[in-house]
């Protein structure tokens, strides 16, 4: 907001003019709107009507899906929104409500959830609940009895109890249920397959599908001897004879491998673990307290790379902020000069790098910087082989160059705005006093500029500290440090190193990753707070 707008709104208090001035009319309009014209009321009603309709629709769906907590939240928010906008008094709330809702949905929830995940073992092998893990372990432990035949089956029902009507390879019909082992029965046959039997209702395919859960659990013992296994049907038309290699004892919380006799116990680590420490995966998700944080700071593999990665992260963030700021400022001053023609077109060209998605730019730069085939070496340097991305030091330089290219337009825009808000009369006064241009810039303009821009520089530092995109897309942290025990490279910054540690190969360790991101957040928060304190001294200049 510039000061000119402020002036315009200042009510004309003289009141002596016979005709209402433009400003008075505007003031009257504002007062009218505040008291609520009929159009405003209509728009308000319409908008709130839409909000309520959507809320009702969401409630309806949520309630039918038994999502009570979310339904309650939606209801409370909808009521609150109505109350705020129909109330005559809640003026500040009317302005703040939409922003707060967005803040909660897109920021607060994410932050709280990340915080929660940091205290769990969520990751590969600890992906769901204990029940899911148990059922998955049981399912994968089923082994088809070797050389057993495929049995054509018909699913039948008697007073709600499901049974399997089986045709054995000799062409005899057998029937059995979960409790009742297979026994011979007289049945109707259709093309060599038993399809119906007296006293039982044959299920059609649609009915079979509707009772999928029961059929998945249906295991008909082949005989009274449990070691012979049971018949199960995965598709409702064929059954196979399976034995299970593990037994689950829910009361004791143990899984027993019946082939080896090993007992796996739930010892509170989120997986069944044997006496000698072997884990049965999948496990399940549990809260682990500060384990992730302890692992994050005590990981021996990180010790050696952590030092140079941290140094490089700070260097990368500081140099990026500095280089983009000074280039942006320089260009802003140049293009702020009234004597230059066609400034508008240059300005648009300047902003272009900012308008292209950084993912894309980084990939294009990676192609251009290829040592043997890249545009830069082939065309600009006439076939030289400069190892832009493959030499540890050159790669760092390249990353900084690309980040400068990506980042200067932002600084250019910011500086241009800030420069234009510095009154010209200050410069004139200084010129009259005999100051040289450099002195004017250094002693007057730059301090005034920093008052506005310093908080943005801090924000830019925080952004570059976590500038995952550029590193990941341009070098992916490379060239790799072949001596490091983890796949870290010479241009990795903290956040990309964390990514590699938490998501190596097939392992996804979301708990550890969240813990790291909280640690990095604390580091950046501390730096930013200190920096903001320091900028207070700048503000006293004003």
């Amino acid at each position: 907001m510039t000061t000119t707008v402020d002036e315009e709104v200042t009510p004309d208090t003289s009141g002596t003019a016979p005709k209402p001035t433009k400003r008075q009319r505007q003031a009257a309009g504002i007062a009218d709107a505040a008291s609520g014209g009929i159009m405003v009321l209509l728009v308000k009603l319409l908008a709130l009507g839409i909000v309520d309709a959507i809320a009702l629709f969401a409630l309806f769906i949520l309630v039918t899906a038994d999502q009570w907590l979310i339904a309650a939240i939606v209801a409370v928010v909808a009521v609150a929104v109505n109350w705020i906008y129909f109330s005559r008094r809640k003026l500040p709330a009317k302005y703040l409500t939409p922003g707060i809702i967005f803040l909660v949905v897109f920021q607060v929830f994410t932050l709280v959830y990340t915080g929660y995940i940091a205290f769990t073992n969520y990751g590969t092998g600890h992906n769901g609940t204990k029940e899911q893990a148990v059922s998955s372990l049981m399912a994968s432990s089923l082994q088809r009895v070797e050389d057993s035949p495929t049995y054509p089956v018909t699913v039948v029902d008697q007073f709600g109890t499901l049974g399997l009507l089986v045709t054995d390879p000799d062409g005899d019909a057998l029937i059995g249920t979960n409790e009742q082992p297979l026994q011979q029965v007289d049945a109707e046959f259709d093309g060599g397959k038993a399809v119906a039997v007296d006293g039982w209702t044959t299920l059609q395919f649609g009915e079979v599908l509707a009772r999928t859960d029961e059929i998945t659990d249906l295991a008909v013992p082949v005989s009274d001897d449990p070691n012979e296994g049971a018949l199960r049907t995965p598709d409702g038309s064929s059954a196979y004879q399976y034995t299970s290699t593990v037994e689950y004892d829910e009361a004791a919380g143990t899984m027993t491998d019946v082939t080896t006799g090993t007992v796996y116990t739930d010892i509170g680590t989120g997986a069944f673990t044997s006496a000698d420490g072997e884990e049965l995966l999948p496990g399940w998700q549990i809260t682990v307290g500060f384990d992730n944080f302890v692992r994050a700071v005590t990981d021996a593999r990180l010790l050696q790379p952590l030092v140079y990665v941290t140094l490089w992260t700070f260097a990368f963030a500081l140099i990026s902020v500095g280089s983009t700021f000074f280039l942006g400022l320089f260009l802003a001053i140049v293009f702020n000069d009234m004597r230059m023609r066609g400034r508008k077109y240059y300005r648009v060209a300047m902003i272009l790098p900012y308008a292209i998605p950084s993912f894309l730019s980084a990939l294009i730069w990676a192609g251009m910087m290829n040592e043997s085939f890249g545009f830069i070496n082939q065309v600009i340097f006439g076939g030289a082989s400069i190892p832009w991305l493959t030499d540890p030091w050159m790669a760092k330089v390249s990353v900084l160059i690309v980040n400068l290219w990506l980042g200067f337009p932002y600084m250019f825009l910011v500086c241009m705005g800030a420069l234009q808000s510095i009154p010209d009369d200050i410069q004139e006064a200084a010129t009259v006093d005999g100051a040289k241009p450099w002195a004017i810039f250094r002693l007057i303009k730059l301090p005034l500029l920093l008052v506005t821009v310093a908080p943005l520089l801090i924000a830019s530092f925080a952004f570059n500290f976590n500038n995952f995109n550029v590193i990941y897309m341009l070098t992916d942290g490379g060239p790799r440090d072949a001596n490091a025990p983890i796949p870290v490279g010479f241009t990795d910054i903290l956040i990309t190193m964390v990514y590699k540690v938490a998501f190596t190969g097939q392992t996804r360790d979301y708990g550890l990753a969240s813990a790291y991101s909280i640690i990095i957040f604390i580091v950046i928060a501390v730096i930013s707070i200190i920096a903001f304190r320091r900028t207070k001294t700048l503000e006293e200049l004003n």
Binding site: Q26, I50, T124, N127, G128, L209, G236, N370, Q506
Partner: protein, 410 residues
């Protein structure tokens, strides 16, 4: 400060509408899936490029069995992680398309249900069944087998090469500086170099009766060191046949431009080569030794979610429907990859290109799906890239072996 109250109110209201709308949508869509599923809908995640190929089969199945099959086209790169994250919440699909090397991860996360192929298992190519089996249990219905082979520009070099050196010699005779290209990169590309490694008798893992054995690391045996020495001799300081600056796009361009006559790549690039006007022939990978150069086979297939509420319909759809020759051929036409069903594979092999890949595939070995393979990938490529760029081959290879061993036993 002047504030136009009307517009502000309007914007505020619009924002609230949008927010609630978003909330409504997100919960709404997930919920719809469940509600419909109870009435008999199979949700299938499909690689976006194959939705059309599967659509006819899905419609036919719906008509025949009365089960709605909803195909959701997804970006292939996102399917695995989304599946792992969404299955435990109960909002995932009933079936997803995938590749066999995901199996270790899916199984460790407990998101995939075993599938029983029954007697039809014998109807598939053996490599497809091997790849679909993890720790003795079958989890995947295979539909295609994919492996790399050498694409030859038959106009430049009319005859197939008999060995690696013969290939280079034939290319040079045709007047090319670097007749052979293969996709590498700053971090190497072990997948594309694996045929040469196996030719020296150095597979990654040994095998037992349940498949690959993670405790038997074969990577660093004597053959591995010989391979490293050979690779070094073909690298930057040697013949220069391998170059880590050549990535997939550069290799493709070289082959299309005719500056390379041999390109070691997969069936996914054949279309581009033929469209580029190259007279393509498919050869087996020329071996640098006398032994066969076996590439990795990647097997594509379908998985059933462990939390699916429609397991019966899902199994029926996969085993009794996707596993038929007609559907396998339709999927083949969409992707031009060899079908996993033997009968469909034979039909498809009437095409000389497919026949060429199938011949190489006969020598292929399934890419290990065991989680230990993740530890291999992260060190393997960088070591090979190092060797190509002039690092001491044997020392680098020994360090690779010890790094991998340490990562596996961690």
């Amino acid at each position: 400060m002047r504030v136009n109250k009307k517009s502000l109110l309007a914007v505020g209201a619009a924002a609230v509408v949008a927010t609630l709308g978003l909330a409504g949508c997100s919960t709404g869509s997930g919920d719809n899936n469940q509600a419909e599923a109870a009435g008999g809908t199979l949700t299938v995640w499909v690689d976006a490029e194959r939705v059309d190929a599967l659509q006819a089969a899905a419609d036919a199945y719906s008509e025949e069995k009365g089960v709605e099959v909803e195909l959701v086209g997804k970006d292939n790169a996102d399917i695995k992680d989304d599946f792992i994250q969404q299955v435990p919440t109960g909002k995932g699909p009933d079936i997803t398309m995938g590749a066999h090397d995901w199996l270790g991860e899916l199984s460790t996360n407990g998101v995939v249900a075993p599938i029983e192929l029954g007697d039809s298992a014998a109807d598939y190519l053996p490599v497809a069944i091997d790849a679909s089996t993890y720790e003795g249990t079958t989890y995947m219905l295979p539909y295609a087998v994919e492996n790399i082979a050498v694409l030859r520009n038959a106009d430049l070099v009319p005859e197939a090469a008999t060995s690696f050196d013969d290939m280079i010699a034939k290319g040079k005779a045709a007047g090319l500086d670097h007749p052979f290209v293969v996709e590498q990169g700053a971090e190497g590309n072990p997948y594309h170099l694996y045929p040469f490694q196996t030719a020296f008798g150095a597979p990654v893992f040994g095998t037992n009766d349940e498949g690959y054995d993670p405790t038997d690391l074969q990577l660093g045996n004597a053959g591995g060191e010989e391979f490293a020495t050979w690779l070094g001799a073909q690298g930057k300081n040697g013949t220069g046949n391998f170059n880590t600056d050549i990535d997939g796009d550069i290799a493709k361009q070289a082959f299309l431009d005719g500056t390379a006559a041999f390109w070691l790549t997969g069936p996914w690039n054949v279309g581009a080569a033929i469209d580029g006007g190259v007279n393509v022939a498919i050869d087996t990978v020329p071996s640098p030794t006398g032994e066969a150069a076996s590439p990795f086979a990647g097997v594509k297939g379908f998985f059933v979610s462990s939390e699916s509420a429609n397991k019966v319909a899902a199994n029926d759809f996969l085993v009794n429907y996707i596993g038929t020759e007609d559907v396998q051929l339709e999927l083949f036409e969409a992707g031009n990859i060899l079908p996993a069903l033997s009968a469909a594979a034979e039909t498809a092999s009437s095409d000389p290109i497919i026949e060429g890949f199938a011949a190489v595939g006969a020598e292929a070995v399934p890419m290990p799906a065991i989680p230990a393979m993740g530890s291999v990938w992260q060190y393997w490529g960088i070591a090979e890239a190092g060797v190509i760029n002039g690092a001491d081959p044997v020392a680098t290879w020994q360090k690779l072996t010890s790094d991998v061993q340490a990562a596996i036993s961690k």
